[in-house]
Each structure stands twice: as structure tokens, then as C-alpha cells.
Amino acid sequence: MRRNYISLKGGWDIKMIGLNIVLVIGMLTCLYPLIWLVLFSLKDNNEIFGGNIAGLPTQFLWENYKEALIQAKVGVYFTNSVFVTAITIAATCFLSLTSSYAIIRMRWKLSKVTLNLLLLGLMVPQHAALLPLFIILKKLSILDSYWALIIPYTLFAIPMGVFIFSGFMKGIPRELEEAACIDGCNIYQILFQIVLPLVAPALATIAIFTYLSSWNELMFAVTFINSSSLKTITVGIQTMVGQYSTSWGPIGAGLVVTTLPTILIYTFLSGQVQKSLIVGAVKG
């Protein structure tokens, strides 16, 4: 790691101090939402709406968490979210990897067209797709099942996966594949043993973004699932919002419960990015 500091060897001059101050201020503005959310989750409506929006709660309402855990059925819903998200991430990574490899590195006529077609997926406003998608899922008879979420989430995440992968794939030198080919590797070995390690940083990035889009998704989750046993955590939190009266403290508590794993996973995955970069550097 030490060698990373080379360009900054000059040490702590004025510029560096200035830079660090800016970075720290930036960091505080980004950290603030998290702190605010935790405080918010311990307050009652009066404090949340105006009584005391930024400060410490006058009374720490831990029962907000109790209410959120019971109301949002965190046990079941959380497991469902983990399951749906995990399969979505795995499927997205795998399908984006294979299709972007075929599109970018392999030789066939319609590769360019296919790439453009897949990128079209980035441009679809999801709200407009709701009804057509509902009808399609109904025809496939997978409404009210995990697949009704996993398949759309995966497909809406693939375009970005392909887009990011293709940038990385373009940068791989031909010689690597040629050498592997001479060594007698077949195409599957080339992809999974030679290319995959090289694009691993992209894998972690794609996993993070896929995680975000499926973990926080609400509209599909509300519309495609009816059985309580299949619902995801965002729907659980949504059930706490009422038509005429809502108590926001427990919702804050629910949001903390759903946000913390996200931060843990991100910290873990971004550590992986770092690691795989070092691995890549050694090999390269």
C-alpha cells in the first residue's frame, strides 16, 4: 500500500492541508444523513416535524425499533429481501459477464447491434413498464413468486452490468487470450480463468449497484407480490405509512435496519475491489 503515496511524498504542505479540510467537510456532509437517520429513528412525530429536527432526541424512543421489527415483520421480509437480492446479484453478474464477453471479445455479425439493444434497457422508465410487465409475468404465471421480482430486477440491472463490463473488456490485451488459446484453453476456460480475474473490480462495482437497485425497489415489490410470506423489507416499511396518520419514528427505525446491512456489505465489497485490484496488478 505504501507505494500509493509516492505522488504525495511532498508531505503536509499548505495545499495538502487545504485539500484535507475540503475532503473532511465533504465527508461530514455525506455522513450526516446516517447520523440524522439514527437520531430520527429514536424520536416521535413532534420532534421529527419541527420540534427538534437536528438535535438529540429528548427521550430515546427505543420502542420505535420494537414497533418496526414487529410491524415490518423484519424476520421474514428481511430474509426474502436477502434471498431476492442475492439471486439477482448472482444472475446479473453472471449474465452480464457472459454476454458482454461474447459481445466485446468474440467475433460475430450482430455483436454491435446486440450491445446497443441491451443498452436500450438503461433508458426505459420503469413506471411505464409496470403494466406490460405485470401482464407478461401473469402470462408466464410467475406473479406472486420470488421470480416475479428476481427476473425483472436482473433484467433491469443487466444493461448497466454489460455497459460497465464492456469498458473493462475492451482494455484487455488480445495477447492474453491468444496465449491461453495456444496453451489449449477452450473459450469457457478463457472467460472464467483468464478474463474473469481481470474484470473482477467491475464485478464488485456491478454487484454494489445491482444490490442498491433491487434492495431499495418498491414499486415492483408492491405490485407483483401479494403473499405476506414473499414480501420484501421495503414493502414492510411501506406498510407503516398510513393514509391519514403515520408515525415516522418506527419508519426511521425500519430504515436504519435496512440501511445498516447495506453499509456493511458495501464496506466489505469495496474492500474486495481493493483486493482484486492488487491481484490484478500482480498478474498484469
Binding site: 500509493n4 475532503l23 429536527i53 449474465l95 454476454s99 468474440m106 426505459v124 403494466l131 464488485a204 421495503t234
Partner: protein, 291 residues
């Protein structure tokens, strides 16, 4: 080699599963939306075919502020490309070249991206609140009472006020993409540059940026498409109001489809958004290539 890379069976195996699912889940809904956009339809009963009437209403009648909504989304696009991305790039370069606390900064700058829109929305509503908001309180405490304002309720200020959280939230997103890319630039290249006397800003400008150009292009395209499709945060913060001041095409589409029972008209906005994204992407790709 050519034989291996031209293996039709492998290509089919790699691409077809994705394409088949893509056709069912994304292509068919787009086509159906295209068809719906030619109907006068409430989304439930029988629709009547009206040809391009919805598009004519959209582009020429323009009573619901559609023109304004397009202009608004273009303003967001410009802010995103020319303000947000440069900041994200600068952060990515600084962090990627190693600085004390790199991992901490990298993690923290990404937190706004991780937080759900509901949280970010509620937070900024509190910051902007005219009566007890943090922003007005801060302005008051430094003696700038005349600057206090109902940020999201004032038609002249709401647009910018609604865009600031969006730009702020997604800076970390672009930073991470560019950071991952900058990190993969091998150390030897910097070493060589350093021997040639390039350090700090020079090495960033001359070496890193050209090398991560593909990722910067990806970010630009994401930023452009993201701006044209923006919905969530605007809906939470202002619902497109006051008086359409912060309206964007997606909020109009949502309201047409789900509040106003105008599925046909709403679909024509959806198709417009897709077309707009395609056109911008094509222009950008061409620009990138010609460079």
C-alpha cells in the same frame, strides 16, 4: 484463435439467455408502451386508436407544462455533466492516488448513494423547511436573514433547490466508478511518469484521465440518461410543483398514468423519454469516437 472466438455455440450460450429474457422483460414492455401511446386509453377499459394524437398533444398543445419539464431535465443534465462529474472525477483521482484515510473517504462518500430515496428526501425536506429548516437557521445565525426563503415552495428557487440533493447524492456513485477505473491503472505507468517529472496534478491530467477515459465516458452517459429519467427524489421533494416549477418528464408520466387515468398519453411521454435518451447517447458516442 479465430475459431475459438467465433465459436457459434459458445456465443449462443453466452448471449441467448440474456437476450430471451431481455425480449420478454424489457423489449416487449417498450413495444407495448409504443402501442399504448397510439391509444386514447384510461389504462383499464377499452382504448381507442388515435394515431399520433398523443404526441401532437405532447409537443404542440403543451398545457401541462411538458415543454418546461423537458427544459428542466436538460438543466439537470447540464449541471450533472459540468458540475457533478468534475467533482466526482477530482475526488476519484485524489482518492485513487492514495491519501491518508482513502478507505474511509471512499466508504463515506458513497453513503448518500446507499441511503434510500425516502431518507434522503425526508432529510432534505428538513434542511429546506422554511420555518424550522437547517438552511434558514444557518443563514439566520450568520446574519443573512434576507436570504432566508421557502426553498422548495418558491417557484423561482425550487428547481435549483431540488437539483442540489440529486447532484449531491449521486456524486459518490460516479466517484466510485471512476475510482475503480483509476485504481486499475498500473503502478508502473505512474512510476515511469514520475521519473519523467510528472507528479500530482500533471500526472493526473496527462496520464490518469486519458487512461480512464472509457470510464469517464460511461459516467457521462449514465449521468445524461439518469438526468433525463430522474423521478424519485423530485417526487419526494416537490411532486413536480409548485406550479410545475420542478416538473420533469417522468413525474408528468407518472401522474398521467397513475393519477389521471391517461395511460395512452403517459405512454407517449415514456416513449419520448426513451427516444430522448437514445438520441443523446448516439450523439455522445459519436462525439467520443471522433475525439
Amino acid at each position: 484463435m479465430d475459431k475459438v472466438l467465433g465459436d457459434r455455440r459458445a456465443i449462443a450460450l453466452f448471449v441467448l439467455p440474456t437476450l430471451i429474457l431481455f425480449a420478454a422483460i424489457i423489449a416487449v414492455p417498450i413495444l407495448l408502451s409504443g402501442y399504448y401511446s397510439l391509444l386514447d386509453w384510461d389504462g383499464i377499459g377499452e382504448g381507442t386508436f388515435v394515431g399520433l394524437q398523443n404526441y401532437a398533444n405532447l409537443l404542440f398543445q403543451n398545457t401541462d407544462g411538458f415543454g418546461k419539464s423537458v427544459v428542466n431535465s436538460i438543466i439537470l443534465l447540464l449541471l450533472s455533466v459540468f458540475v457533478q462529474l468534475p467533482i466526482a472525477l477530482a475526488l476519484a483521482l485524489i482518492l485513487a492516488r492514495g491519501i491518508k484515510g482513502e478507505v474511509l473517504y471512499r466508504t463515506v462518500y458513497f453513503i448518500p448513494v446507499i441511503m434510500s430515496t425516502v431518507v434522503i428526501g425526508q432529510l432534505w425536506l428538513k434542511i429546506y423547511n422554511a420555518d424550522y429548516g437547517l438552511l434558514n437557521a444557518m443563514l439566520g445565525s450568520i446574519g443573512l436573514d434576507s436570504w432566508k426563503s421557502d426553498w422548495l415552495g418558491d417557484t423561482s428557487k425550487a428547481l435549483l433547490a431540488a437539483f442540489v440533493p440529486i447532484l449531491w447524492q449521486y456524486t459518490g456513485y460516479h466517484m466510485l466508478l471512476m475510482y475503480a477505473s483509476a485504481k486499475s491503472v498500473s503502478e508502473e505507468i505512474y512510476e515511469a511518469a514520475r521519473i519523467d517529472g510528472a507528479t500530482g496534478i500533471t500526472s493526473a491530467l496527462k496520464i490518469t484521465i486519458p487512461l480512464i477515459k472509457p470510464m469517464i465516458e460511461v459516467c457521462i452517459i449514465f449521468a445524461v440518461i439518469g438526468s433525463l429519467k430522474i423521478f424519485d427524489l423530485i417526487y419526494v421533494l416537490t411532486r413536480g410543483g409548485p406550479l410545475h416549477a420542478t416538473e420533469v418528464p417522468s413525474t408528468l408520466m407518472y401522474k398521467s398514468i397513475f393519477d389521471q387515468y391517461q395511460y395512452g398519453y403517459g405512454s407517449s411521454i415514456a416513449i419520448f423519454i426513451i427516444a430522448e435518451c437514445i438520441i443523446f447517447t448516439l450523439i455522445l458516442q459519436r462525439a467520443f469516437k471522433s475525439e
